[in-house]
């Protein structure tokens, strides 16, 4: 598969940036089509997918846990005085849970996940590319796209929703700790309020979009790594541009998916 040439390594003109932008979008689209073509053809490399899911889970578990608990605490700290002013502190659990499930949980987890994972994938595949390990794989009768790209993209797509569900619980736990520090609220009341506040329409789009974010993370990381060129400098570039591009795409797709979910579940608005 030939990908558009990318101009790097010298002072770029505005026209170069425009060219690079469209070249990247075209390249990513071709890469995506290649993924769709390859994903249904055996062998499915299940053991590799499991291995990557394990690794990704272990790599990101700590950081998303810390972020989740802090986010839950801070969100409650910020909201509490406002709710108190309106005498509506009883609604805090409902408000926090809806924000966390609809938007903050999925997006923050995805951004942290992509920062950690797409840069790692970009650097790993990039260094494999420049040290001819990908060529060596091809010589060994292995389709490197399938072995390296398809397995990683599936793994990121599957693991991010699981991580997000976990982070949502952690964020709610953080929120509960903050509430009980200043308010007299029982765990039962908190849990009941959360359950009553959440509808099916909050949960499905919220968690559903993390499949897309996971896919973006894997695809962009793999694309940048797989097409890296120019030695160690190229590896560094693959790693950093993977994070920037995937974070940007996650935010753009979030906007689009929120619009779609409001259209599908009008009561959410």
């Amino acid at each position: 598969m030939k990908l558009p040439h990318q101009k790097y390594g010298r002072k770029l003109k505005t026209s170069d940036y425009i060219y690079n932008f469209f070249a990247t979008i075209t390249g990513l689209t071709i890469f995506n089509i290649q993924f769709i073509k390859e994903v249904f053809i055996p062998p499915y490399e299940i053991s590799e997918i499991k291995k990557h899911m394990d690794e990704l889970g272990v790599k990101t578990f700590g950081i998303v846990s810390i972020t989740g608990i802090i986010l839950g605490l801070v969100l409650t700290m910020q909201s509490q005085p406002v709710m108190q002013r309106f005498g509506a502190t009883d609604f805090l659990p409902a408000m926090v849970s809806i924000s966390v499930i609809r938007e903050l949980g999925p997006v923050i987890t995805a951004l942290i996940f992509t920062g950690r994972v797409s840069s790692g994938i970009g650097a790993e595949l990039g260094s494999m590319r420049v040290t001819e390990q990908i060529d060596a794989m091809e010589v060994s009768a292995v389709n490197p796209f399938k072995y390296l790209v398809v397995t990683r993209v599936i793994a990121t797509t599957m693991i991010l929703p699981i991580l997000t569900i976990y982070v949502v619980f952690i964020e709610l736990a953080g929120s509960f700790f903050e509430i009980v520090l200043v308010e007299s609220m029982t765990l039962k009341y908190f849990v009941d309020s959360v359950i009553n506040a959440i509808q099916f329409g909050d949960f499905i789009p919220g968690i559903g979009k993390t499949f897309v974010f996971g896919f973006i993370t894997g695809l962009v990381g793999c694309y940048k790594g797989f097409t890296a060129e120019g030695g160690t400098e190229g590896v560094g570039r693959a790693s950093t541009t993977a994070v920037v591009l995937s974070s940007l795409l996650i935010l753009i797709f979030d906007m689009v998916l929120v619009k779609i979910s409001l259209w599908l579940w009008p009561t959410l608005g």
Binding site: M128, T131, E132, Q133, D135, M137, E138, V139, S140, A141
Partner: protein, 254 residues
């Protein structure tokens, strides 16, 4: 017809350019079974590209490459992989998989090319191949724990583990000290004899070439400029060859 049976690699009118830079221009070449061919040439003259075209990693602009009579560029991926089963490739950097141990590096091509082999057969083959390159003790090491010479040896072990009939070496001794260079070159020639392989070696290294080669060609300005034995090339009166093979700088006349 008799000739065709002994040819393992046949290259016809191969051309390859990168943008405006022509690296192979109408290159034709035959390698007979059991031959050890060395390809010389200055950096950027298309030596590695030639090897990558032979194994189908790179598509030429035009021309044809036959391996055991199979046209490499008209084969399906499955058929090409069948052809590749009989070809070993030692990359310039050895290209060991960083995330795998030596054992996993060696078992990787075996499991892919011969999925029917049992774990016991695979383990036996790995142990035997590591003995051939005298590195049995490195079996559970990671590539990052190996020296440059050891990496080349493991790379060599990984290339020969499928018992290929044809070996392609891309600068097998680059970056190694003179003693390790001789050791690797001797290892290559010994394996060659023991396993009865044909080889094409791309190198700048005269020491390595003298140990390995039966025949040599010199790529210059994208063409096969000289062909013969190593002695023919090193003893040639041609100023360019003298410049390449001696330590003196000999001025070429236009």
């Amino acid at each position: 017809m008799v000739m065709a049976d002994t040819r393992i690699v046949e290259i016809y009118n191969l051309c390859k350019s990168f943008g405006t830079h022509k690296v192979l221009d109408d290159v034709s070449l035959n390698v007979q079974r059991g031959d050890n061919l060395v390809v010389f040439g200055r950096s950027g003259q298309g030596k590695s590209v030639l090897l990558k075209c032979i194994i189908g990693l790179m598509q030429p602009d035009s021309g044809k490459i036959l391996i055991n009579g199979n046209d490499v560029f008209s084969l399906s991926v499955k058929q090409l992989n069948e052809v590749r089963k009989n070809i070993g490739f030692l990359f310039q950097s050895a290209a060991l998989y960083d995330s795998m141990t030596v054992r996993e590096n060696l078992s990787f091509p075996l499991k892919r090319h011969f999925p029917d082999r049992t774990q016991k057969e695979i383990d036996d083959k790995i142990n035997h191949t590591l003995e051939l390159v005298s590195l049995s003790e490195a079996i559970d090491k990671m590539p990052s724990e190996l020296s440059g010479g050891m990496r080349k040896r493991i790379g060599l072990a990984r290339s020969i583990i499928t018992d290929p009939e044809l070996m392609l070496y891309d600068e097998p001794t680059t970056g190694l000290d003179p003693i390790t260079t001789k050791e690797i070159s001797e290892l290559i020639i010994n394996l060659q004899k023991k396993l009865n392989m044909t080889s094409i070696v791309v190198t700048h290294d005269l020491v390595c070439a003298k140990i390995i080669a039966d025949r040599a060609i010199f790529l210059r300005e994208a063409k096969v400029a000289y062909e013969g034995s190593i002695k023919d090339l090193t003893d040639s009166d041609d100023k360019f060859l003298k410049n390449f093979f001696s330590h003196e700088i000999v001025k070429e006349e236009e």
